[in-house]
Symmetry: C2
Subunit: 171 residues, 2 copies
DNA sequence: CTCTATTTGATATAGTGAATAACAATTATC
DNA sequence: GATAATTGTTATTCACTATATCAAATAGAG
């Protein structure tokens, strides 16, 4: 809660930008003004940074955030079909086809014709997929989430995730 | 801080997902598993929701989040050139040209040849641009940010923005 | 059971955002 | 004064997203 308080306390003492600075600021970096208080703006900038860091950490395994989330979901819910997995992640079915083509061609997962419904493909991780996912999880935990936890403090990181989840769920 | 605490306290009592539920969950929604704890995932989902709400609220003015941020920045920093405004927002100069074409063709801003450096275009809001931006600000404050503040609590909303800004700044 | 409607995975296609290379005009630098 | 760097611009490419449509398979109504 320490970082939280220090962050919150920073709200009021935030340097007031010189009111009538119409043309005063020369060669200085432009002033963000009210943009700094817009949740959507900081949300997008932060998301880009976090994804950037994720990709950097995941370079040896060549997994994008989306691909990692697909592997995680298949591992946690084996036997689901494409429609179920795609819709859970908010991915359109046509776009999910290409994603699966990529993962399957790399030998990380397989599509199996369902015995009960021969329209659908049951998704499963291969051994290689499980091994890759395990290594990916360790990388993410050790180098990515650990860095965020160090930056924010673990309790703040957790609070942040909870607030973001609430926005995604209830807004 | 109430909501913050309630959110934080939810961390431990979070419903443990049934361990050996390999194939048990049928016709139930797939389980997110470790995805729910990934900051990048909740960050992206929340960002999509927030932008969606922003666009909905801004429908009468037909401004995207990016366009709104450009108008805000020009208002706050009149006389800046395209390179300065674009780089402040993390927009590539070539892509910023199209954005400005759109805003200028709608009569919201103008490019003026700088007297001191005739390579650069000085950016200024038009009267219409100022009026539109003022209406946009009111819409955002009254219908968009207010909704987020209601959802999270104002103090939590502020803390959230501060944490996101810290990530964007220091990660 | 048959006919129709729905679902699933897939293809094609289009729109948007973002990135790089290259260019003319202008300015800065040596 | 010759060369390098900067500004706005164009063209182009790539990734991601969204919609319409299709064949195969299933579900449902009569």
């Amino acid at each position: 809660m320490v970082v939280t308080k220090s962050l919150a306390s920073r709200v009021k003492p935030a340097r007031m930008q010189p009111k009538a600075a119409a043309e005063a600021s020369e060669d200085l970096p432009p002033n963000l003004g009210e943009l700094a208080d817009l949740l959507g703006y900081s949300l997008k900038r932060a998301q880009l940074r976090v994804f950037e860091d994720f990709l950097r950490v995941m370079t040896p395994l060549q997994l994008t955030p989306a691909q990692f989330s697909v592997l995680l979901l298949i591992e946690k819910n084996p036997g689901r079909n494409q429609t179920e997995v795609a819709s859970t992640l908010g991915i359109q079915r046509p776009n999910f086809v290409t994603m699966l083509d990529s993962l399957e061609s790399r030998g990380l997962c397989v599509r199996l014709r369902s015995a009960s419904d021969r329209r659908s493909h049951v998704l499963m991780l291969t051994d290689k997929g499980r091994a890759t996912l395990m290594r990916a999880k360790k990388l993410v935990a050790a180098k990515h989430e650990a860095r965020l936890s160090e930056l924010l403090g673990e309790s703040n990181r957790v609070v942040l995730v909870q607030m973001l989840a609430k926005i995604a769920r209830e807004l």
